[in-house]
C-alpha cells in the first residue's frame, strides 16, 4: 500500500502549483434554474384556434390512411405515430358490429366492449410478442401500425353491411367471403410491411403468425355478422 501511495504522489504533486492567471477573467453568472424551462417556446400550440389543431390532426390521420391503403416502404407511420386513427377505426368497427337493437334475444353478436377489448388487447399482445422476439420497434409505434392496418377490414365491414341490405342468400355470403378474405390479407400484408422490417431476418414468420391470427379473428367476426331482422 505504501508503494502505491508513493507512486501516486508524483501524479498529483503538481496540482498545488496550479493557479489561474489574472489576465483570464473568471466571471460569469451562476444562477440555479428555478422552474422548468419551456421547451417549445417558439412552437407553442396552446394558443392556436381549436379548428387548426383538429384539422392538423385529421390531416395527419388521413395521410396515414393513405399510407396503409398503398403500403410502400415509408416510415411515416413509424416516425410520428399517433393513436387517433386506431381509436377512430376501432370505435367505428365496434359500432357497426353491434347492429341494431342492443337487447335482441339471440345475442350471438359481439358486444361493443368485446370488440374494443379484442382489438386493443390483441394489439398489446402482438406488440409484446414482437418485442420479446427481439424487435427494434417501440411499443406505441407497433400499436399505431396495427391499429391503422384495421382500415381495410373496416372498409370490408361497410361493404358487407351494404351487401346485407339486400337478401341474405348464398350469393351474398360468397361476395362477403371474398371481400373479407381480400381485406384481411391486405391488412396482414400492410402491417407486415411495416412490422417485419424491425425483426431479424429469419424470425419474420414468428412475428407474422400472431398478426395473421389477429386479423383473422377480426375478419371472422365481420364475416359472421348478421343484422337483426
Amino acid at each position: 500500500m505504501a508503494e502505491v501511495e508513493e507512486s501516486s504522489k508524483p501524479l498529483f504533486a503538481g496540482l498545488s502549483d496550479i493557479s489561474i492567471s489574472e489576465d483570464i477573467p473568471v466571471e460569469g453568472d451562476i444562477s440555479v434554474p428555478v422552474g422548468s424551462q419551456n421547451p417549445d417556446d417558439d412552437f407553442s400550440t396552446l394558443d392556436e384556434p381549436v379548428k387548426d389543431t383538429i384539422l392538423r390532426d385529421l390531416r395527419a390521420v388521413g395521410q396515414k390512411f393513405v399510407h396503409v391503403l398503398y403500403p410502400k416502404k415509408s416510415s411515416a407511420l413509424l416516425k410520428d405515430w399517433d393513436l387517433w386513427g386506431p381509436l377512430l377505426l376501432c370505435v367505428t368497427l365496434a359500432l357497426m358490429l353491434q347492429g341494431g337493437s342492443a337487447d335482441s334475444g339471440e345475442d350471438g353478436r359481439p358486444q361493443f366492449a368485446e370488440v374494443f377489448v379484442i382489438i386493443w388487447f390483441g394489439s398489446v399482445i402482438i406488440t409484446l410478442n414482437s418485442k420479446l422476439l427481439g424487435g427494434t420497434i417501440s411499443f406505441f409505434q407497433s400499436l399505431c401500425v396495427l391499429g391503422y392496418c384495421i382500415l381495410p377490414l373496416t372498409v370490408a365491414m361497410i361493404v358487407c353491411r351494404i351487401v346485407l341490405l339486400g337478401a341474405l342468400s348464398s350469393v351474398s355470403f360468397v361476395v362477403r367471403l371474398i371481400v373479407v378474405t381480400a381485406s384481411f390479407s391486405w391488412s396482414t400484408f400492410a402491417s407486415t410491411a411495416f412490422l417485419a422490417d424491425s425483426q431479424p431476418a429469419n424470425r419474420k414468420a414468428l412475428v407474422v403468425y400472431p398478426v395473421f391470427l389477429f386479423y383473422f379473428v377480426i375478419g371472422w367476426m365481420i364475416l359472421t355478422f348478421s343484422p337483426s331482422p
Binding site: P33, G108, P110, E114, N129, L132, V217
Partner: protein, 342 residues
Amino acid sequence: MSASQGSTNTNTEPWGSFDDNIIQGSGSAVIDMENMDDTSGSSFEDMGEIHQRMKEEEEVTAEAAATEEDNGEYGEFLGMKGLKGQLGRQVADEVWQAGKRQASKAFNLYANIDILRPYFDVEPNQVRNRLVESLIPVRMINFPQKVAGELYGPMMLVFTMVAILLHGMKTSGTVIREGTLMGTAIGTCFGYWLGVSSFIYFLAYLCNAQITMLQMLSLLGYGLFSHCMVLFITYNVHFHSLFYILWLVIGGLSTLRMVAVLISRTVGQTPRLILCGTLAALHMLFLLYLHFAYHKMVEGILDTLEGPNIPPIQRVARDVPVVANAVVNATIKSIAAVVQSQ
C-alpha cells in the same frame, strides 16, 4: 444511481454534509427545520423567540428577494412562515422526486419484459419441429428426455385454440347470457393451460419428478396442438365416429408423448402411475369436453347415439309470458271478486 440534475453537490464529508440551500429551493433531501412554524403557544418566552425570528426572516427575505419574486401567495398562505414559501415548494418538490423514484423502481422490477426474453428465443423451424414432435411418443423412458423450455409455441397454440373455439361456439349457436363469447373462450383455454400445468407441477413436486414449471408449461402447451387439430376438423365436419377416432388417435398420441416424457423423469411405479394417470385423464377429458360443449346440434345423429345433449353453457330462457299471464289473470279475478262483493 444518478446524480440529481439540478442541485449542487458540496460533499465535504463522506456522508454528504447538510446543504444549506433553503434559499435556492433546489430539491435536496434535507429540510432545515429551524424555520418551521412554531405553534407552541404564545408564552412570554416564545414571543421573544418569535420577534427574533421575524427579524432574521426580514434579513433573509431581503436576500431572497433578489433571486425570486413570485412567491407572494405562498408567503401569505403559510402565515408567518415567510421565507416566501420555500418550505412548501421544497416539500412538494421532494415528494415528487421520491414518488418518481419509487415508481421507476417498481416499474423496472415488475414490468421488465426482459425477464421473459430468453423464453422467446426460437427459430421458426425449431417451432415447427417441436410441433411435429409433440405427436410422436418417445421410446426411451429410462433416460430423462429433454424438454424445451420456450413459451412462444405454447402461447401461439393457446391463441389458435381460442380462435378455433370461437368458431365452434358461433357455429353451434351457443348463447352465453352472463359473459361474453370471447371471454369464455380465452378463460377456458388459458385456464386449462395455466391451471392444469400448475396442478401437474404440484403433483410432480409431490411425486419427486424432475421437471420445472417452465418445462411443464411448454410440454402441456405443445400438447394442445393435438386439441387444435381435432377441434378444427370436427367443428366443421360433424361426424361423431370421426370425432371418436380422432380423439383416440391424435389425442392419444399427444397424451402418450407427454406421459412418456414424465415417466422418463420420475422414479418409482406409484408416482409414475399417479402423475401420468392424472395427466392422461385431464388431457383426454378436456378434448371431450370441448367437443361436446360447443357442438352443433345435428338432429337425428344425436338421438341415435345419445340423449338430448344440451350444451352446458346454454341457458334456456324461462317462459316468462306464461308466468306473467298467470299473474295478470289472478289479479283480474281477484279484482273482479272484490268488485262483485261490493
